[in-house]
Symmetry: C2
Subunit: 355 residues, 2 copies
Amino acid sequence: MNDDTARKRHGKRADQRVRTRRSAARMEDVAKEAGVSLMTVSRALHQPALVSKKSYGRVSDAMIKLGYVRDLTAQTLASKSSRMIGVVVPTLLNPVFSEAVEGLSDGLESEGYQLLIASSGFSLRQEELAVQTILGRRPDSVIVTGQLHSRHTQQLLLKSGVPIYEMGNVDAEPLDTAVGASNSQAAHDLTRHLVNRGYRNIGYIGGHTEDNDRAMSREKGFLNALNAEGVAMNPQAMIRCNPVRYGEGLQALEQLLDRFPETDAVFCSVEMLAIGALCLCQQRGIRVPDQLAIVCFDSGELSSLVSPTLTRIRLPRYELGTSIAEDFVSRRAAAGPLAPRTINLGYRLIEGEST
Amino acid sequence: MNDDTARKRHGKRADQRVRTRRSAARMEDVAKEAGVSLMTVSRALHQPALVSKKSYGRVSDAMIKLGYVRDLTAQTLASKSSRMIGVVVPTLLNPVFSEAVEGLSDGLESEGYQLLIASSGFSLRQEELAVQTILGRRPDSVIVTGQLHSRHTQQLLLKSGVPIYEMGNVDAEPLDTAVGASNSQAAHDLTRHLVNRGYRNIGYIGGHTEDNDRAMSREKGFLNALNAEGVAMNPQAMIRCNPVRYGEGLQALEQLLDRFPETDAVFCSVEMLAIGALCLCQQRGIRVPDQLAIVCFDSGELSSLVSPTLTRIRLPRYELGTSIAEDFVSRRAAAGPLAPRTINLGYRLIEGEST
DNA sequence: ATGAAAGCGCTAACAA
DNA sequence: TTGTTAGCGCTTTCAT
C-alpha cells in the first residue's frame, strides 16, 4: 500500500524530482504518521464519534505534529459543499452595505461559513462578472444587492441551484428570496411627513439611479407622494450624486440652494448625503429646521446623534445581514427548494428635530 | 473513449442512478458538444493562441449553449493557484476597515482575484480560526490587520508559503510585509500639537487595547509625548471604548467631562469616537475649540466637513488597500520570496478648526 | 494543433 | 471500528 501511495503521488516523475517543494502535509501524511488509514483521519475530523478513542488521539497528535491544515478546496470538490457564501455589494464605502456584510459575517461565520465578497461598483455588468466567478467557486448560497440584475445574471443565479438572496429591497418579484423593506413605500411615508408638516418647496438629493433599483424605488415613492398630495416639484430640484459620499451631499445641497433659494425642505435618500447636507448647514449657519428641514432615508447611528437629530427612515442594515444568515441556516435544515418569497423586515419612520 | 468517459463518471453506480441530479455542465460536456477533446476546451480558456480558430469557435458556441461555468475549485486543486486572497479585519462596522477592504477589492478584482473576508471581532483567538480556515482554501495571499497575532497564527501564516501582509501599522517587526504608518509616531505628533497649542488638561478617548496593537501604539505615542513635554496625565482621564461606535465616543466624552470638568482638550484615537464627541459638544452647546479642543486620529472624510473641522491625523485607508494590491501584483511578477520588509505609507497631520 | 494519461487532496459508497 | 475503491472537475505532462 505504501508503495502504491508513493507511486500515485509522484507518478513516473518520482525519480526526476523527489518532493522538492516542501508542500503542506496532506491527510495521507497524517494517516501515515498516526499509523492509521486516510479515512480514519477524515472521520476523526468529521464524525469523531465513529473513531476509537485511541485512533482519535493518535490522529490528533499527528495533525499537531505536522501542522496539518485541511484542504477545503479538495473537500469542496469531493463533497459538493464549499461552506462558502458569495456576496455582491455595490461598494463597501457606504456604511449601509458594510454593516449588512458585517451582519452576514457575524451570522454565518459562527455556523462555519465563509464570505466571498465582491464589489460591483453599481454596475450590472460588473455584477454579472462577479456572480459568474463566485458561482465558479461552488458557493452554498449567493447574496446579491437589490432586485435589478441583468438577464444573464438572473439565469446564472437561478440555474446555480443554491439559495439566492436579494437584499435591501422588496419592491419587485423576488428571484428566489428577497429580504428587506419596501423602499418606495418608506420613501412615500417620509415624503408625506414633510408635506404634512407644511413644507412645499421640497428638494431631493439622492443616489444615481443607473443600475440601482433602491435609488429608483426611493425616487418613485418620493414623487408619488408629492403627486398624491398635490405638491408640485421641479425636476431640476432633484439632484443625483455619484459617487455617494458625505462631500457629495454637501455639494448637492449647495447646488440645490443655488438653483432654488426658496427650498424649505430636502429629502436625502441616503444617510451619507443627509449628513453631508447637514454639514453645509452648519458651515453656513443655516438653521435646521427653521430655515431648512432635512429628512434622511436609510439612517444609521449618526442621524440620531447629530444636532439637530434627523427625521428619518430606519431600514435594517446589520439586521438585514443577520436575518439572511438566519434564514439560510434554517433553510439548510429544511427540505428542498422553496417557491420565491419575500421577507419584509419593515422600516420605521423616526421623527427627529430636523423637521 | 466515450465509453471510458461514461464509466469514469458513473462508476459502478451507472445503472442505479443515471445522472439524476441535473448537475452543471463540465468541461467534458463542452468538449463533447464541440466535438473536440477536453484539453482543447481547457486551452481555449487559458491560451486561445494555441487553439485553431475553428476549434475555438466551436468551443465558444458550446460553452454558451450549455451555460458553462468553469469550476474554480477543481481548477485550484489541479493548478495550485486559487486566485483568492484572504483578508482578516476586526470588523467592517468601522469605516477604517471597510474602506481598506474596498481598496483591496478595487485593486485586486481587476486583476482577477477574489476576496475571502473574515471578521475577527478584535479577538486573536478568532483571528487564528479565521486564518486557519482561510489557509484551507489555499489562497494566493493572506492579509491580516495589525501586527499582533497569536504565536500559532504567526506560524500558520509563515508556513503557508504565500505572501503575507500586515496592514495598518508598522511599529513592530514585520512577519513578511507590513504596510501602513507608524501609529505611535503619528499619535506622538498629534499630542505634541495639543501641547504646543497650550492645552494642559488633556483627556484621551480611544479604542480598547485588548488584542489591538494599533490602539496600544496610539496610547503609547500619546503618553510618550506628554511625558516628553512634561505634561501630567491622570490615568482616569483615559477612556477606552468597546465597541468603537459614534455613540460610544459621545458617552465617553460625557463621562470624561463628568470626572474632569477642567478638561480643555481631548485626543480621540478613532474618527468615530471624535465625531461622537463632537456631537456631544453640539448637543450641549460646548464651544469647540474655545471650551474644549478635539483632535482626531485616523480621520476620514467626515472630519473635514463637520464644523468645526477637526485637527487630525490622516492615515491611508482606501490607499492602504490599493497599495497592498499593487505590491502583491508586482510581487507575483517578481522572483521568489523576499525578506521581511516594511512599507511605510506615512501620515499627515492636518490642522483644523477644532484646536 | 490536439489528445491521453496521471494526478491535485479529499469524501462517498461499499466492504470487511 | 476501520479500510478500499472510485471518483469530484480540472490542469499538467508527455505524446502525437
